[in-house]
């Protein structure tokens, strides 16, 4: 929505304070871009799954990828940190520039990519270790030499989990509730100082309260990190994200990008009729 004053007065555009729960200016593309995706095409064997996707991920913002099942959003997010390398038939063309460097470049170490671009998955998957070691293990093998107790506490605080488990650090990570496990996975990702956190439907397996806690956590985390989230839940995308990217299937059943817009705009006045049809739930 855009407000225009045409009264001939000089009042300009006023944004009402307190209009949204967290007032944050919409990302402009003059802002720092952390990830630039250009002409991304992904094949699984001969099947052309994702076609000609281009969009930017702005720094310290939440970018949500939405769209119907099978439209390529998880495929795209998994390209960003080269998780698709683990699928033998997957083949990626195009550019995924992280701070200007193509993550698929010949000289680029995929392990380093995944350190800097962390991932949280749909099903919480803490290590079968203590809560403490879930966080310490990754830091240790990445050569962390500082005070481990302090690091563990900081990560658990940043993941809004410390108060709930500070007396149970030796307990197994698997003994936690689903929502707590997911926050432990976020804390684990934070332990190796990533720059970007990818979240592939992080709340799909969680109850509504855990979901809202993680959404609140995301709003806190963007102060220091950049977040990209895939979600089936449109209301979640509307609540948490600054930019929303809508994917759909074209007539050849390939995943394509339909629209990338500031979230406020996409959910109130989308540019593309396909976006409007999807977000209002009108299919067929």
């Amino acid at each position: 929505m855009v407000m225009q004053q045409q009264t001939g007065t000089d009042e300009g555009i006023r944004v009402m304070p307190g209009l949204t729960a967290v007032e944050r200016p919409e990302p402009s593309y003059a802002e720092a871009t952390v990830i630039s995706i250009r002409d991304l095409n992904v094949y699984y064997g001969a099947f052309h799954a994702v076609a000609d996707v281009s969009f930017d991920v702005p720094k310290n913002r939440v970018t949500a990828l939405i769209g119907p099942s099978g439209c390529g959003k998880s495929t795209v997010i998994r390209c960003i940190n080269r998780m698709n390398d683990l699928i033998p038939s997957a083949h990626v063309e195009g550019q995924i520039l992280y701070h200007g460097v193509d993550v698929n470049g010949a000289q680029v170490d995929p392990v380093e990519v995944r350190r800097r671009i962390g991932m949280v998955f749909q099903k919480p998957n803490p290590f079968p270790k203590s809560i403490y070691d879930n966080i310490a293990w990754g830091a240790r093998i990445n050569g962390y030499k500082g005070n481990m107790d302090e690091l563990v506490e900081k990560c658990l605080r940043d993941a809004a989990l410390w108060d709930e488990i500070k007396d149970k650090l030796k307990q197994s990570g698997l003994a936690l509730s689903g929502g707590q496990q997911q926050r432990l996975c976020i804390a684990r990702a934070l332990a190796i100082s990533p720059d970007v956190i990818l979240m592939d439907e992080p709340c799909s397996a969680l109850d509504p309260i855990s979901t809202l806690k993680i959404e609140d956590l995301m709003r806190d985390l963007v102060r220091d990190y950049t977040i990209v989230i895939v979600t089936h839940n449109m209301q979640q995308a509307a609540r948490v994200s600054d930019q929303t990217v809508f994917f759909s299937l074209n007539e050849r059943r390939q995943g394509v990008l339909v629209e990338a817009s500031p979230t406020r705009q996409l959910f109130t006045n989308p540019s593309d009729q396909r976006t409007e049809d999807y977000i209002t739930g009108r299919f067929g």
């Binding site: 929505m1 225009q4 045409q6 009264t7 449109m234 409007e276 209002t280 009108r282 067929g284």
Partner: protein
Amino acid sequence: MTRVAYTHQIQELRDAVVSLASMVDKAIARSVDALKLQDVQLAWDVIRSDAAINRQRWQTEERALLIIATQAPMAGDLRTIAAVIHIVTDLERMADHAAGNARIVVQTAEEPLLKPLVDIPRMSELARAMLADSITAFIQEDADAARAIVERDDEVDELYDQVYRELLTYMMADPSTINRATHLLWAAHNVERIGDRVTNICERVVFAATGTLEEMAVSTY
């Protein structure tokens, strides 16, 4: 097609707006007839019918809030629902102006009309035509039509100016006419405000269609 029930609810909401507009139009027409004819019976009918208009307004607003609470409307649907909430408010206020004119009839029917009413009924015809066209623009989501309607309020305002000047000359020439002239001035003002309310409706139609909130035709009064 998915979300059949939800689509139906939005359609019912639009229908409720059309129905309310029809009730309001009838109230406006009858209130001006009552003024012209000094028909107290008709005036009381208009006053009593205002309660039904108020009820319809609240029910429509409740219906809109229920859709928001239960269906999480987005995009065009959300803008339509937001527009409906404002439009029914403007319609209800228009009906209040009509009821105000009906009360003027009740208060002044003992004395003969100062002169046969010509300009006030003409203002009312223009405002009613604007109302009908604004509701059509709402149904058709036609922003251009809505903007064009706003321009027509100038003619209503000009007629009001004319009525004002004419009534002033009556009052200056003969102070014994002041009571009746003042009541007629209020009646003309009520109709002028009806025209302004239609421009508010047009602003909401433009918003529902385009997502842009445009201030249109600021009233001189």
